[in-house]
Amino acid sequence: MSKFKKKTNTSQEIPTAALPDIIFMLLFFFMVTTVLRETDVLVEQKLPSAEQLTKLRRKSLVSYLYVGKPKSSEQFGTEPRVQANDAFININEVILFVNQERDKLDENDRDKMTLSLKVDQETKMGVLSDVQQELREANALKVMYNAPPKSAE
């Protein structure tokens, strides 16, 4: 009997003193990698998915335009609208927006500016082509149709 009752002297506790450090490390990782949402998107955004995606290498050269039905339809109607930064803009203000964004960039990066178009999948091509005509007018020719990757079917 005594054979089994023998107790070892080693402590059976796992030292947890370093646990906060580990958690803090994780915490800092997420804090550093987090990008807080800068703009409130006021239009519906259900992006169509695609397969042939390319990544944008330099985020600083990208400006966003959101196109879709306004979320609060009683306030803004149901027609698709264009949103830049935090506000709706008219189609003819797109040039102004592009030029403002371009002025923010470094001089030798200006021709590399990319416009990322986040367009709701129910939008009609008419609106999109109006926007594209304005972009051509503003000489912002690099566009990207933002689309999430297709999930495996």
Partner: protein
């Protein structure tokens, strides 16, 4: 001197606090998905120049039309399955003058996508995705990569840029997005 008390801050709940913060950031984080289909728009026409005379042989243009009911017409034939488009574009581009209905050479081949104002964006992206996919696959085949590896080549690195340029050579991605017709919408 009196007996010194062992002074210690109770740090047992530190982990809990840290966990709380961690979970907060986990929930609020959204990993930015800046991925999409890249395109280059044509420059705006110069008002001083007359519109350039475009001489394309019929055979060198692969016409894709989408109407406001989201029906697709490819080379004047109704088209059912979008997935099939990729193979057809490849056949068209890599024809090298064999079939008299398809392109003369990859350099001359143009894929034209024309939509209606009432066409939905979703179908447009699907079509564009297929056409770009065809081009990426052809370029990737040339350098012996998969299409996905080819798309992810980092052009800021010299060796990868060389691969990219080699794949691109002689296979220009000429996709024309025509102005939509004004019916519907």
């Amino acid at each position: 001197m009196g007996k010194r008390m062992k002074q210690e801050v109770n740090a047992g709940s530190m982990a809990d606090i840290a966990f709380l913060l961690l979970i907060f950031f986990l929930v609020t984080t959204q990993i930015a998905t800046d991925k999409g289909l890249q395109m280059r728009l044509p420059p705006k026409p110069d008002p001083n120049d007359p519109p350039p005379e475009i001489k394309f042989k019929e055979r060198n243009i692969f016409k894709i039309l989408v109407n406001s009911q989201d029906r697709i017409l490819v080379e004047n034939e109704p088209y059912g399955d979008i997935e099939q488009l990729r193979e057809d574009v490849k056949k068209f581009v890599l024809n090298e003058g064999v079939n008299p209905d398809l392109s003369d050479s990859p350099e001359k081949a143009v894929v034209s996508i024309k939509t209606d104002r009432g066409t939905s964006y979703e179908i447009f992206i699907k079509v564009l995705d297929q056409v770009q996919g065809a081009y990426y696959e052809m370029r990737a085949d040339k350098v012996g990569l998969s299409a996905e590896e080819f798309r992810n080549l980092d052009q800021s690195k010299d060796d990868e840029k060389e691969l990219y340029d080699r794949g691109r050579e002689g296979l220009p991605m000429q996709i024309s997005i025509a102005e939509p017709s004004k019916i519907g919408g």
